[in-house]
């Protein structure tokens, strides 16, 4: 995507819009219990906000916001959060991914709600890391 020059107005508008998209994405992840939404949708919207800056300002400036080397580790952290929630339920005495046995105080139904929240955060982190990583790989590959 080196065929055009980045424009000041486009950079200004996308810099203004990107934080609001991220805020709405976080709302979608954390309010997914009560309204349509959840980890997949919120993670994809976060990835869209990151890619918006990359499209408008180019790779060099976008490194300041989200470095290129951060994508795959963030995806791995998301997968590990998911596995870690399951293993924590095992440590509490239940079976794998049985959130009622998480080692936290509270009733079984509230613990299940909390476990769902952890899992959604893990899914969201994995999706944003992997999608940004795929975009970077496609953009950096070879000459045109």
């Amino acid at each position: 995507m080196r065929d055009y020059e980045s424009d000041d107005i486009v950079i200004l508008v996308s810099r203004t819009l990107s934080p609001f998209i991220m805020l709405f994405a976080l709302y979608v992840i954390f309010h997914g219990h009560y309204s349509p939404g959840g980890g997949f949708q919120g993670g994809t919207m976060l990835a869209a906000a990151v890619i918006l800056i990359r499209l408008a300002a180019g790779m060099d400036i976008a490194q300041l916001q989200f470095p290129r080397a951060l994508g795959m580790p963030l995806g791995a952290v998301g997968v590990l959060i998911y596995f870690g929630t399951g293993v924590a339920a095992m440590l509490g005495g239940g079976s794998f991914l049985d959130y009622a046995y998480l080692p936290l105080p509270g009733a079984a139904a509230a613990l299940r709600s909390l476990g769902i929240l952890f899992v959604e955060v893990g899914v969201g982190l994995a999706v944003v890391g992997i999608l940004v990583s795929i975009y970077d790989d496609l953009l950096e590959s070879g000459e045109r």
Binding site: P36, G37, Q41, T44, A48, L55, L138, R144
Partner: protein, 81 residues
């Protein structure tokens, strides 16, 4: 759940799919595919699947289109069929 809305969306969906498959310019084809994704998201919501509609709108209209356009910029922009 409202059959008039669903039939209208289905007809536009088939038209967008035909446009995406038959255009010679690949950028036109990809933009038609994005329109196709948005129409299918509306259709899911009309059928009562709000979560699936949300996901399709975000994925098909946002990230998938961008990845497709990057692919076309990296390769060729025209095709013969």
């Amino acid at each position: 759940m409202h059959w008039e809305l669903e039939v209208t969306l289905f007809i536009f969906l088939v038209a967008a799919a035909l446009l995406a498959l038959e255009s010679r310019n690949l950028l036109t084809a990809v933009v038609s595919l994005t329109v196709f994704s948005f129409l299918s998201a509306l259709l899911y919501v009309a059928m009562g699947a709000v979560d699936v509609g949300f996901t399709e709108a975000v994925v098909g209209g946002g990230v998938s289109g961008v990845l497709f356009v990057v692919t076309i910029f990296k390769t060729t922009r025209t095709c013969r069929d």
